[in-house]
């Protein structure tokens, strides 16, 4: 009898426990749905990839945005109110990005910063559009992030502070033809990502326009580790320049293997190269004579960049990469928009964002065009004995 009663009790307790979980969930949201009063903080959603495939990008952008918010708050906040950054992890997946955005909307955010990749931003997009809250993407470079390809209309609440992919391919082609005087080039692109394919396509187009020839086009896929076979093939065609648009996970071992095969031609790529892992995997010597296009460089001597780099180093004890700088600019751009709008109403902030002109961020001066893309310059960075140095700055 006693055991039976105990079982009853256990079942009852289990039921209560399950019920309390649901009750707890419900209660939490109600508390958070207080109207934003005069003295309250301004909640800003930071929806980034802190775990999963691109956690390195997401956490750096988060660090940049958090630094900007702290600086703004220390200087008295905006419109007399303090900003409050609500950090959430979207696990590098589009469905989780959507779920996180919905949770943030429930916390009355005025705007969302992030996510980083174009796919995750796409996941977040319907929620932001439904709720009419602006989203500022730090590094989503696919064209269809801000423009609906079916209708050709600009997505009203989606903005970004980075230039789009094609621009990087064009930029590197300009650089290879004009600065490196390359006549022939080989393309060895990451064909498993739109990023790699997009950069490769525009590089090819501009390089041919500049009078060059593409003598080899090869591809690798995300996760590849051995590139020797294809590199040997490319070596045989002896190009003046090798374009490797891809992400650092594959590019670092690729460059190492290329140099081991005595390929001495300059190698170029895009901002997917920007990671400390490049140096630790490929080594300083292999990286000599390699170039990549980027939004910004921490070696820039511009006073605003220097100040940002010092503040970032002081806080996190590491070098800020482009994602950190773009994250920082996202937050700064939002503050500029809040000031311009003189309001924390998401709709008014959106209108102000669409009209931003000559905003000076650490990644350069930008003007938001009608497709919500910034018009801004890019830099070409060279690895010199393991250090990233600015080779040149190219205006579009």
């Amino acid at each position: 009898m006693i055991t039976r009663r105990n079982k009853k009790l256990a079942l009852l307790l289990a039921m209560m426990l399950i019920l309390s979980i649901f009750a707890g969930c419900g209660g939490g949201t109600e508390e958070e749905q207080q109207p934003v009063g005069e003295k309250a903080t301004i909640p800003v959603g930071i929806n980034v990839e802190l775990s999963g495939a691109v956690a390195s990008y997401g956490s750096n952008a988060r660090d940049g945005a958090v630094l900007a918010i702290e600086e703004i708050n220390a200087a008295g906040g905006v419109l007399g109110q303090q900003l409050e950054g609500l950090q959430r992890d979207c696990k590098s997946t589009a469905d989780e990005a959507m779920s996180v955005s919905a949770a943030l909307v429930g916390e009355n955010i005025v705007a969302q910063l992030g996510p980083l990749t174009s796919g995750d931003v796409a996941g977040s997009t319907p929620i932001m559009m439904d709720n009419k809250i602006p989203l500022i993407a730090p590094a989503a470079t696919a064209a269809n992030v801000t423009v609906d390809e079916k209708t050709g209309e600009t997505r009203a609440y989606i903005f970004r502070v980075c230039f789009i992919d094609p621009f990087q391919g064009t930029l590197m082609a300009q650089f290879a033809a004009d600065n490196l005087k390359a006549k022939t080039a080989a393309i060895y692109a990451d064909t498993s990502s739109d990023y790699g394919k997009g950069l490769a396509a525009y590089f090819k187009q501009t390089f041919i326009e500049k009078g060059g020839t593409i003598i080899a086009e090869e591809g690798f896929v995300s996760g590849d580790r051995d590139f020797n076979a294809t590199l040997t093939k490319i070596k045989g065609s002896n190009p003046d320049f090798i374009y490797v648009p891809g992400y650092y996970q594959e590019v670092a071992p690729l460059i190492k293997q290329a140099r081991e095969l005595n390929i001495t031609a300059p190698i170029g790529g895009g901002d997917g190269w920007d990671s400390p892992d490049m140096l630790s995997v490929a080594g300083a010597e292999a990286l000599n004579n390699t170039f990549f296009t980027n939004h910004y460089s921490s070696q820039d001597t511009d006073p605003q960049v220097v100040a940002f780099v010092e503040a970032f180093k002081a806080k996190y004890d590491k070098e800020p990469d482009a994602f950190a700088a773009l994250g920082y600019d996202c937050a700064q751009l939002l503050v500029q928009a809040i000031k311009d709008a003189n309001s924390t109403d998401p709709q008014k902030i959106t209108d102000a964002l669409a009209n931003i002109k000559d905003f000076v961020g650490v990644t350069g001066k930008m003007t938001i065009d009608e497709q919500h893309n910034p018009i801004k310059a890019g830099v070409v960075i060279e690895f010199k004995d393991g250090a990233q140095t600015v080779n040149t700055r190219i205006q579009p």
Partner: protein, 316 residues
């Protein structure tokens, strides 16, 4: 005669209970009592239930370690999006098409690979999942690696709820039939069941195809809710997520799979705020469960009316 009317009464009470639960949530949704965040969680929950229950049929009941479930989900998702968005056909055709495509994929993969045993089957199915992903990445018609963005939202609570119920019903009834007993006998001892005259490969393929079809169904519902699908969504980590649910719930328990799917969905939501610690806490919970309940939350037990009756000391 009395027996018959009693079972009929039981059936009626179950139907009423299910409809009541459905109406309750439907009412809450239409009255705006559920915010967007919980709506999404509800969706993930139903999709995870379908995935976990269908994978449990293959891994738990049939005892064949399959790691390619995300691949079938991808087949269903892409097939249905092509039907509904590219060809502008109604959603129901998309659902049927998605299930059918995933079922065919399951058959094509199942027939040769199910002759393999243990680790080899795991490797073969894992490879299949990766092949699907890479193939999708290289088809320009479905936008390659960038995936399809802007999918019309057609998945509603009704679809989700009844799809999850259908999955559970089909699999529970299958397991209570002679087919089910044959399937379990394969798990217990394949050689012995073959000696008893059971067509082991046939039953394995049957279980595999049914599991794949429901994974396809989950893929259809997923694609028409989450706005974007890309090949990377259905990588092997997604398969592992499902496996975690099945193992956590207990291999061979549908109740366990349902409970674990709901538990994991809520855990994911609850840990959103603890960004940095999220994966640590998640892993810790899994490790603790595995230490104290190595057979999973439910083992191979099921929760049914009988269980409640026994606990409350009422009639059987």
């Amino acid at each position: 005669m009395q027996e018959k009317s009693k079972s009929w009464l039981k059936f009626l009470s179950e139907v009423i209970l299910l409809v009541l639960l459905f109406t309750l949530v439907q009412y809450a949704l239409s009255a705006g009592l559920v915010n967007q965040s919980y709506q999404i969680t509800l969706t993930s929950m139903c999709i995870n239930v379908i995935l976990a229950v269908s994978l449990n049929l293959i891994n738990g009941f049939t005892g064949q370690l399959s790691l390619g479930h995300a691949g079938f989900m991808a087949v269903g998702a892409y097939a249905s999006v092509i039907i509904t968005n590219f060809m502008d056909l109604p959603f129901i055709i998309g659902i049927l098409g998605g299930c059918l495509a995933a079922g065919i994929a399951g058959f094509v993969v199942g027939v040769p690979t199910l002759r393999l045993k243990g680790d080899y089957l795991a490797i073969a199915t894992l490879a299949f999942g990766e092949i699907i992903r890479v193939v999708l990445q290289n088809i320009d018609y479905v936008n390659g690696p960038a995936g399809i963005v802007g999918i019309t939202k057609l998945t509603t609570w009704s679809w989700l709820y009844w799809a999850a119920i259908l999955t559970i019903l089909v699999i529970v009834n299958l397991m209570n039939s002679s087919y089910g007993r044959a399937i379990v006998s394969i798990r217990e001892d394949e050689v012995a069941s073959e000696l008893m005259g059971i067509n082991t490969t046939g039953y394995k393929v049957l279980a595999f195809v049914i599991g794949a079809m429901f994974a396809g169904l989950a893929g259809v519902l997923y694609a028409h809710y989450f706005y974007i699908i890309k090949p990377e969504t259905f990588n092997f980590l997604k398969s592992f997520d499902m496996l975690v649910m099945v193992v956590l719930g207990g291999l061979g328990s549908t109740t366990g799979a349902v409970i674990a799917a709901i538990f994991i969905t809520f855990l994911t939501l609850a840990l959103q705020k603890y960004a940095a610690m999220r994966m640590v806490i998640y892993s810790l919970i899994l490790i603790i469960v595995m230490i104290y309940r190595p057979q999973g939350l439910m083992g191979t037990k099921e929760l049914s009316r009988k269980t409640f009756a026994r606990i409350w000391g009422g009639k059987k």
